[in-house]
Amino acid sequence: MGTFMSKTITIDGQVVPFKEGQTIMDAAMAADVYIPHLCHNPEFTPHGSCKLCTVKVNGRNVASCTMPAVEGQQVLSDTLELNDERLSLTQMLFVEGNHICPSCEKSGNCQLQAVAYYLGMMSPHYNHFYPQREVDASHPDVLLDRNRCIYCELCVRASRDVDGKNVFGLSGRGIGSTLVVNSASGLLGDTNLAATDKAMQVCPTGALLKKRQGFTVPIGQRIFDHHTIKDVQLGDKHE
């Protein structure tokens, strides 16, 4: 715990210190309190789109990844109601795309799958949308499978803010949203994306994959085969 000079909030009753400018998510992660999330990655500007990290602050729901921590906030996160809603959102993400875990080479390393494990998802609950989405294998080293995109825009942010390339962007609207790439042909192979780009390291699902590496680690020996996403994401700091 911080000294009595530092500012604090409480999360599920636990006193959590924070520094000016930190969000509730920042403060929580620093204090080893896990709030489920998919579109958030502490290395990038918070986005606030997946809404999994929604918490209740003084009775009102807010996205913890974008909401600044303010002295005295009483935050509820690990509650039956919120976890139930997070589960529903996760199920929504599964049915709006085509997430076939058994045939996906990201299985076991996929954050969407891991969050579903964490929240105890036993079925998709909703009817599958089975959307028609394009797969782009034009790049020599990268496969873009839009069936697995959850619109977190981490690749968009990484390519823009770190790689300085603006390879990715979103087009369309609503359920017709689609990940587009920065080339007149619309093909990834015609962009200047490199497999070593930051944008290639941030996809929480199997939408962006490096080719020829899918099964270097066998299924059963992958991250979330042995660890919960909570342990991994809180442990990220040490890696």
């Binding site: 996205a63 529903s88 929504m92 603006n166 962007g169 087009s171 609503g174 949203s177 689609t178 007149a184």
Partner: protein, 609 residues
């Protein structure tokens, strides 16, 4: 529709790009012009525009994809979009659309083989008092019937330019049925500004405060507070109090004329016949907060008002009511630029509107920070409704006390209602706040009223049992829509129409709204097609809870209102449609065999389940 040759394209693009300059905030305006000229945004145009504005190609493509009126694929040379509000449907729109499609041999949503025409639906075009309505290449058509569609089909077949079509087809009338202080009293342009200059900016803010004017867009935030936050934002930022109201540092006044809520059309009338009042209100706001630049964000559907509004702005500049040294006051500079939307309801949300003004996808921002401190281009910005600015002009002219004497204590002044649906006299009605629904229904000649959708799909469905409720922020707050349904109407169809509306208009940013509005739509369609069960009603309630509590902005959090209201107040309209009380799959087994039947040419008993 052939692809324009690249030299043709350059000839089209060059003047457009020259006119709009190199500020990327002009992107949407540029794309609108290109769409008008080419009937789509050619891939090569995207490259050239991106190069001109020095933005990534992917940014331009993202903006094209976001707005309904823009497209990367060619639409018909004549693009006819039927307004798909429930009021249009009640006036026979669905049959008219089919009629026209049959007549022109075109499939809804497709472009005809020769590229001449495409016919489709669009969200409410704000002509509910004179529907069924449509847009032809962006220009409004009203009072559609078979006769008019016969004429329109003939004009299209003979390839007559839309500009040469009979003006009668495009007639839009105000239909002002009841007036009060806003619409009923004469206004001399400049009268309010003169009062502000005589009284002082700070004192004008005090009058605004005293008037207790609350935002007319529906949320009801106190206008004086918004203005003073915006003014104070700079003071805070610079650690000193700003005394010289007027010049730098930069602040912005934005008028939200993205009147997209289905059933609302009062801003259309204010801008058509009382634009001076609106622009004057913006100028008053500019003086109070210290802004030198204002924007009118005009929804694309109201593009037909653009020239008229530009004319009013020009006249006001000539009269010294806009521009430098307004009414001779040294250092008081303010001017207004009109930006057009391109078919996106979400841009009525103030932070999405600002994104759109900046030429981006209309996606609501994360808040805090709020627009009053970090708005247009990150600067303090006031975004107010058209009617709010009109009221502000009146308050600046006549004082806060005068205004506060009208209406109720918490809801001062008057409210414009856009009345449509099952009434004898649809149109604009101005009432002091506090008026009962019963009174309004009497005045507009409602026939056997059973329900009223107050404030549009995002508002409240009020049942006949509640007609003594009042229009007021403390009872029924409203942005102005007032759609009346008689007893014989199918309220389920109204709710279903609204579910489709929200699914179409969701920006797609957040999971609950992007997916939740689709799920709502699918369930409503399932029930509507006779496959619904009690479980589906429960699922709608559960979705409503998630949408309300988890969504990023007001669109998502209100997208379940029509379903939740109907379930609570009119459960029988659902129950009548239910096939069974137990589980019923959404998958239609017999329907799935249709392809097989077509292939084998069978339709006997054994070919059905």
């Amino acid at each position: 529709m052939q692809q324009p040759e690249s030299s043709d394209l350059s000839r089209i693009l060059a003047p457009v790009l020259a006119r709009h300059g190199k500020d990327s905030a002009q992107l949407l305006q540029i794309l609108r012009d290109v769409q008008d000229a080419c009937h789509h945004i050619p891939a090569e145009a995207i490259d050239q525009i991106a190069a001109h504005l020095d933005v990534p190609r992917v940014t331009v493509e993202g903006v094209v994809g976001f707005y309904s009126f823009l497209s990367t694929q060619p639409v018909g040379q004549y693009r006819l979009l039927f307004s798909n509000n429930i009021t249009d449907q009640m006036l026979g729109k669905d049959d008219l659309l089919k009629y026209l499609c049959n007549k022109l041999w075109v499939e809804q949503g497709r472009v005809s083989e020769d590229g001449l025409i495409s016919v489709d639906n669009t969200s409410c075009t704000g002509m509910c008092d004179q529907g069924p309505a449509a847009l032809i290449n962006g220009w409004p058509l009203t009072n559609l019937d078979q006769n008019r569609l016969d004429l329109i089909a003939e004009l299209i077949r003979s390839q007559k330019p839309v500009a040469e079509w009979p003006p009668m087809l495009f007639e839009v009338v105000d239909n002002i049925c009841r007036t009060d202080v806003l619409l009923g009293e004469p206004f001399t342009p400049g009268a309010a500004i003169k009062q502000v200059l005589a009284r002082g900016a700070k004192e004008t803010l005090a009058e605004m405060d005293q008037s207790n004017l609350r935002g007319r867009g529906g949320a009801g935030f106190k206008t004086a507070s918004k203005w003073s936050f915006c003014h104070a934002a700079i003071a805070e930022e610079e650690g000193s109090v700003i005394c010289d109201i007027g010049g730098n540092p930069e602040r912005f006044i934005v008028c939200n004329a993205d009147e997209g809520e289905p059933g609302t059309f009062k801003d259309r009338v204010l801008l058509n016949s009382h634009a001076d009042l609106v622009f004057e209100g913006m100028t008053v706001g500019a003086r109070v907060v210290g802004a030198s630049k204002g924007f009118l964000y005009l929804r694309g559907e109201y593009r037909y008002l653009l020239e008229k509004l530009e004319g009013v702005l020009k006249r006001r500049r000539e009269a010294g009511l806009l521009g430098d040294n307004i009414l001779g006051q040294a250092g008081f500079s303010f001017d207004i630029e009109i930006h057009l939307g391109a078919g996106a309801y979400i841009c009525g949300e103030e932070s999405a509107l600002i994104e759109s003004l900046e030429g981006k996808r209309g996606r609501p921002r994360n808040r805090p920070p709020f627009p009053v401190t970090h708005g247009y281009k990150g600067r303090p910005t006031v975004v107010d409704n058209v009617e709010t600015f009109a009221c502000s002009a009146r308050i600046a002219e006549k004082g806060g006390e005068w205004f506060a004497a009208m209406g109720t204590a918490q809801s001062t002044g008057t409210k414009l209602l856009s009345i449509s649906g099952d009434v004898a006299r649809p149109g604009i009605y101005e009432y002091p706040f506090g008026v009962t629904l019963r009174q309004i229904l009497d005045d507009c000649g409602a026939e056997d009223p059973y329900a009223v959708q107050v404030s549009g799909p995002s508002g409240v469905m009020v049942s006949w049992k509640e007609f003594d409720r009042k229009i007021a922020f403390e009872d029924l707050p409203t942005a102005g829509a007032f759609m009346v349904f008689k007893r014989s109407r199918d309220l389920f169809q109204a709710a279903r129409n609204f579910a489709h509306f929200f699914a179409h208009e969701s920006c797609g940013f957040c999971t609950p709204c992007r997916v939740g509005t689709q799920l709502q739509k699918k369930i409503m369609d399932k029930i509507g097609s006779g496959h619904g069960t009690i479980c589906d009603m429960e699922e709608l309630k559960r979705l409503g809870f998630i949408l309300k509590s988890m969504s990023h902005c007001g669109l998502g959090s209100s997208a379940a209102n029509p379903m939740l209201d109907a379930l609570e107040k009119f459960p029988d309209v659902f129950e009548r449609k239910l096939k069974a009380l137990a589980f019923e799959p959404a998958f239609d087994l017999d329907g799935a065999l249709e392809t097989a039947r077509r292939i084998t040419g069978r339709d006997d008993e054994w070919a059905h389940l």
